[in-house]
Symmetry: D2
Subunit: 242 residues, 4 copies
């Protein structure tokens, strides 16, 4: 299946892709006017060589396209990566699309991520981590309920403001937007996706974005198996219990 | 003064700059091995020519640096410009800095933008505008009070969550973050600043970001007067009543 | 056919592509959670609207991939566009690949572009043009012969240097490299290709790169017909006598 | 002095700069609303931390500006870095300026890099190197003379073509352009310069560009001493016999 559910309402959907591991090989060999039609042992060794030596540019010619539905706080960290580290890909537009949808213009009904009682995490023991172990269930239950009530009140305030004729770009001040779901397209090269995965599968990434990164990996791995195996650290490739 | 206050608690501060209108001229003439020491009539005509013909690359060698304190919804639109349109400048990092400060790690006390009674705007009459005229004062007063109460409740919930040991990256789900103030550095070329101004001084930009754009223009105009006059539309250069 | 010959030995080959005009529509509508399966009249009007209003980001999600074989002076102007104007796409690597192939390491036998007697052009009458009308055939014949001899001598010197053990990175000083053929991969979005075409189909672009741009247009137009019609000026879409 | 000569006719000139090591510290601390006025021990440890952990974005707010005069083959490798690795800086324009100057329009008299008898290098013993030891002086002398004659003949052909009315964009096919000097402006952040240095001071970089990189390092090191010490490998900071 080309869609994987994440969190209470989110998902990652594989929309399209272009090329295969062969694309990487052919882009790398373009100056030799040679083209492979089938992935040979020699081609695999070339991919290993390119990844090991940091010659990652041929991996930019293989492309994947995703549709993502995630809380704004996840989307923001996703962009941070896109902006700070890549600048290579035509990924900027996902931002455009997303920003337009986020309450400056009224579109969908707002939807919010609400952690369940067992999903609240303690603060980390070391500053190398984003968060620690789950907190006590009863405590979690209390905050889940508080958040549900707070989100409900925010939506009520937001709708009252719209009702009174206030423009959407100001009415949204009432929304607890870190948890608000947004939806965007992400078109990125294998190089870029691998870089994103290397950062966002790390233990110090926010748990919520780690879950999205795992979904991306699961969807893209069968399409470019040799490349992903070389570009993503082994520890991240081993299936983990969610 | 090198600082201009914007909204209830925000500001734009000019931190530094490099070069002058002469820099643009010298960068454009580099291939002729000629260098001007003082801005002549001929140099001014060259700047006019470059702007008119769209040869804006020499404007990338003159640089300005700002520190900005603004609500997250303003920051997001600022980036959208940076990401979607520029990709030329070393501006990506402002984003990094900002993201880190926005409640994943606890830093400053959260501060929020609260429009005053007379500052709430109606929805636009045409879709070409972001918002319309101010709404009735009494109505505005009601929503200002509602927003103050809502923000206060959010902060209380947020602090209760931290108190109960929940990690900051989840506790922030309680914050109505569109209005939350964030602070970042922006280092950009004159080309990039002019492009930002051209978009954000337009009547369809959100009013709040227009106010920040006016502050940027006021701070940078004396440093690169000829360049700004050529790159920014005349209608935006005329001082307007705020 | 997916390959078009250009100049005496060059070509443009369509290697692959991802998406269609529908991709643009779906990327633009992502925030509405709507997806088209077939291009309707309404979808066409949306593409027209996006192009007219300059909302070109959805065009970045539709991708084309080319292999190009062209003289270095054409390749350099191609990059100039890529570097100066795009920065959006994963196109940087074509450059990497190309640079490596261009005589620092010995790969293919060097091949050179030699204009035929009737292909030499006069200097332009106006500075708005890159070149003017063809020069007299006899004059052209003289320079074609001179260039053939000069290139031959360069290759002989280059090979003598290699023969004497000189490294390739220095031996290439003997090659008249503006006309030397290089080969590269170019993976770019429809937005990026359209921008390249808008610049390189212009009458002031060098004639040789105009011919390559026409080949790119011919190959990509059937894949994204509505988008290209909107993004590229009408005058460039009318078939012209070469 | 702010200018260092490189090769037979080239140079690197420091044109301007913005900021200091303090700029890096202040950009990194922006989210804490703290600003240093003088570089303390604590600030130095922060710079060490940022470099060690790869949080290089604060280094993008400190800027340096150079004018460079170098053979085209050096310029091309410089760009390759700029295009392939940075995309962060407003450096694209140097390319614009340079490309325009390189013989499509007639500007300066063409000047060429001619290695002296003792400067020709053998091919490398290992593929990890670009070149090996100097070749025998007599052999070098032969090729220096051959190159001088070849360049002279090229210029004569080029001028004959111009004389016969051929446009400059075609006449340049006669120039052995790898060695042709071009001049450009480079405005780049400390992050970007450090990255360039890390690559171009390496033993496998072409010797000629290593010499330019050393000149850049010598000019920029006194301006941002702590940052450069952290970002550039120690082995490159030790003065070496040229």
């Amino acid at each position: 299946m080309s869609i994987i559910n994440v969190l209470d309402q989110g998902y990652v959907r594989l929309v399209n892709h272009m090329g295969s591991d062969l694309t990487v090989v052919n882009a790398a060999r373009v100056s030799y006017a040679k083209q492979s039609e089938e992935l040979s042992e020699r081609d695999i060794r070339l991919i290993q060589f390119l990844a090991r030596e940091g010659h990652t540019s041929p991996f930019r010619h293989a492309i994947a396209q995703f549709e993502i539905y995630a809380p704004l706080m996840v989307a923001r960290q996703w962009w941070k990566y896109v902006v700070g580290a890549a600048h290579y890909e035509g990924t900027g537009d996902s931002l455009e699309a997303w920003n337009e949808s986020s309450r400056r213009y009224i579109t969908e009904e707002p939807a919010f991520y609400i952690p369940q009682a067992g999903e609240w995490r303690a603060k980390p023991e070391s500053s190398k981590q984003g968060s620690g172990e789950p907190i006590a269930w009863e405590l979690g239950e209390k905050h889940t309920e508080a958040l549900m009530a707070y989100v409900e009140l925010g939506i009520a305030n937001y709708e009252a403001a719209l009702q009174d004729g206030i423009c959407a770009e100001q009415a949204r001040l009432f929304l607890p937007s870190y948890g608000m779901y947004v939806r965007w397209y992400w078109t990125a090269s294998v190089q870029s996706v691998a870089h994103f995965l290397s950062q966002r599968l790390e233990h110090d990434a926010q748990k919520e974005i780690q879950l999205y990164a795992k979904a991306v990996l699961e969807l893209i791995k069968p399409l470019f198996p040799v490349s992903l195996e070389q570009l993503v650290a082994e520890s991240h490739l081993v299936p983990q219990s969610h």
